[in-house]
């Protein structure tokens, strides 16, 4: 049984349907990548998993329980933590305070402030700085650290590398295996297809709200993915 899965997931913004019958699954300990062009529905899928957009109860299963439609404060308490699109730190809170907000889920475990600063040492000197005053890369580190502070079983990451310099992305990407070692399963949205494949065990390609290609990351052909972006998948 998968740790987290969707079953015929439909999602709507008002009258507009953003996802059509999506089936994805994340196994315990796995890292799954979601790839697809702008507006495909990647963010919407993550939001459906965390309860940010309303979906029917049976469409999302977590650890054997139907959780579709549970609000984000409840899904995070169950162990699904998120790095939202655009990182969205609390701008008037310091780095320390931003990280501590991750504890509001009430979940205690191995991740502590010190653990986060060991994972991202460059944040240590910025503890007292406001979230709004950090570089993009540091903001992403805080956003990841803040989610880890919830000691999640599943980490949803929307746009790991968007807008960041390659060296910074490397620093952040290096943290993912260390996060996985602690038993966290990851679902990752990533624009950079090669990086997405190298970081993940399994990948789904989404186009216009539907999965049109999927497979183990090592076996997916780059050319097929390119075609899937334009809707010509085999």
């Amino acid at each position: 049984m998968s740790l987290l899965s969707t079953h015929g997931l439909d999602a709507f913004y008002g009258d507009f349907q953003a996802l059509y019958g999506v089936n994805v699954a994340l196994e315990e300990g796995q890292c799954v990548a979601l790839i697809g062009p702008n507006g495909a529905g990647k963010t919407t899928l993550l939001r459906a998993l965390m309860g940010w957009v309303p979906v029917a109860e049976g469409m999302v299963l977590f650890d054997g329980h139907q959780i579709g439609g549970a609000s984000p404060d409840r899904t995070v308490a169950m162990g699904i933590a998120s790095v939202p699109e655009g990182r969205r730190l609390f701008p008037s809170l310091t780095v320390d305070e931003n990280l501590i907000m991750g504890r509001e889920s009430g979940r205690r475990g191995a991740w502590t402030l010190d653990g986060i600063y060991d994972l991202f040492p460059s944040l240590r000197g910025r503890r007292g700085h406001l979230g709004s005053g950090l570089s993009g890369g540091q903001q992403q580190m805080v956003a990841i650290g803040r989610a880890l502070m919830a000691n999640p079983r599943v980490l949803l990451v929307d746009e790991l590398s968007l807008g960041l310099a390659p060296t910074v992305v490397n620093d952040i990407a290096r943290a993912l295996p260390r996060i996985r070692e602690t038993g966290v399963s990851i679902m990752l949205v990533e624009q950079d297809v090669r990086r997405a494949l190298s970081l993940s065990d399994y990948a789904y390609c989404i186009l216009e709200g539907r999965i049109n290609l999927q497979g183990p990351s090592g076996e997916l052909e780059f050319g097929d993915i390119e075609k899937s972006f334009f809707g010509e998948a085999a």
Binding site: M50, W52, S71, P72, D73, V76, A77, S82, P84, R88, F90, P91, S92, L93, E97, I100, M101, G102, E104, S105, G106, L130, R146, A150
Partner: protein, 288 residues
């Protein structure tokens, strides 16, 4: 000259009270982005609660005052969870309409219960005692009011920046959607914020109940003062409300010094002047 100095001191001291009017309004606007049109009436409700406890039930002043605050807190949390939370969304109109409705209900309910008579509580000797320094004479009650106001504002500052609740309030003010993703039950936090706002209204209402007379219809003028103080001091700044209150109080005192009829007008002029010259307010756009 002495009289002018006395007026200014009086203006500063009442400024503390004005800051209390504004602090709750600013807190609620900051976190929920709604203007609570019933805010002034809730201050008056605090005064009438004090009146009920002290004059009707005959409780000692201190007991009555301490009783008002938890009642106001419960009222705030209840109003928020049962009514106002349901109006919060993308549309700005529903919260305005609902809080306007609460305002009307409060005014008419208080009229029914207490009639339109002027009320004023008597806190005893402290009201007539004054501190004299040469030609300057300042009432002890005004000093007490100012001290309580500053202590309340300071307490709000400590709560905001040195407690878990304060951190959650500030995070929710920044981004309620992401706060919820962190596990914050925002509907509960909004309730707590309204409870805090109404405790401050309660403190203001208690202090005011012996300062000037009040009627069930005194609310809107209090709301106006609160609104002006928030704009003068700068939205989102806790100490800004104190500065805004003092500026408004002194402006009124100066106007009143030259001509009693000018008192209120001078306050409004200071408000318009700040709005024109520094729209973000004196402390606005700054971080503490």
């Amino acid at each position: 000259m002495t009289e002018l100095l006395n007026s200014i001191i009086q203006g500063i001291l009442i400024g503390g009270l004005y800051a209390l009017f504004a602090a709750g309004l600013s807190l609620v606007f900051g976190i929920m982005r709604i203007v609570n049109l019933a805010h002034g009436d809730l201050i008056v409700a605090g005064s009438f609660l004090m009146y009920s406890a002290a004059s009707v039930l005959g409780l000692p002043i201190w007991v009555a005052a301490l009783l008002v605050l938890p009642v106001m807190a419960l009222l705030g949390y209840g109003l928020q969870r049962s009514l106002i939370n349901h109006t919060i969304g993308t549309n700005v109109l529903p919260p305005l309409l609902v809080t306007f409705g609460i305002s009307i209900i409060l005014q008419n309910g208080l009229l029914q219960l207490f009639t339109a008579d002027n009320r004023k509580l008597d806190f005893g000797a402290i009201e007539v005692m004054s501190l004299k320094a040469g030609p300057i004479s300042v009432g002890w009650y005004a000093i007490l009011v100012f001290a309580v106001s500053v202590a309340t504002i300071w307490g709000l500052q400590v709560l905001s920046f040195h407690t878990r609740l304060g951190r959650v309030l500030r995070a929710t003010t920044d981004d309620p959607e992401v706060a919820r993703v962190m596990g914050v039950r925002t509907e509960h936090v909004f309730g707590i914020a309204m409870a805090i706002a109404l405790v401050i209204c309660g403190i203001a209402g208690v202090l005011l109940s012996a300062w000037t007379s009040f009627t069930p219809l005194s609310g809107p003028s209090r709301l106006l003062i609160a609104f002006e103080v928030v704009v003068i001091g700068g939205l989102g700044s806790i100490w800004g409300t104190l500065i805004g209150g003092v500026v408004l109080g002194v402006a009124q005192a100066l106007g009143g010094y030259f001509d009693p009829a000018w008192q209120t007008l001078a306050g409004h002029i200071s408000f318009i002047a700040i709005l024109a010259l520094r729209p973000q307010g004196i402390m606005g756009g700054r971080r503490q």
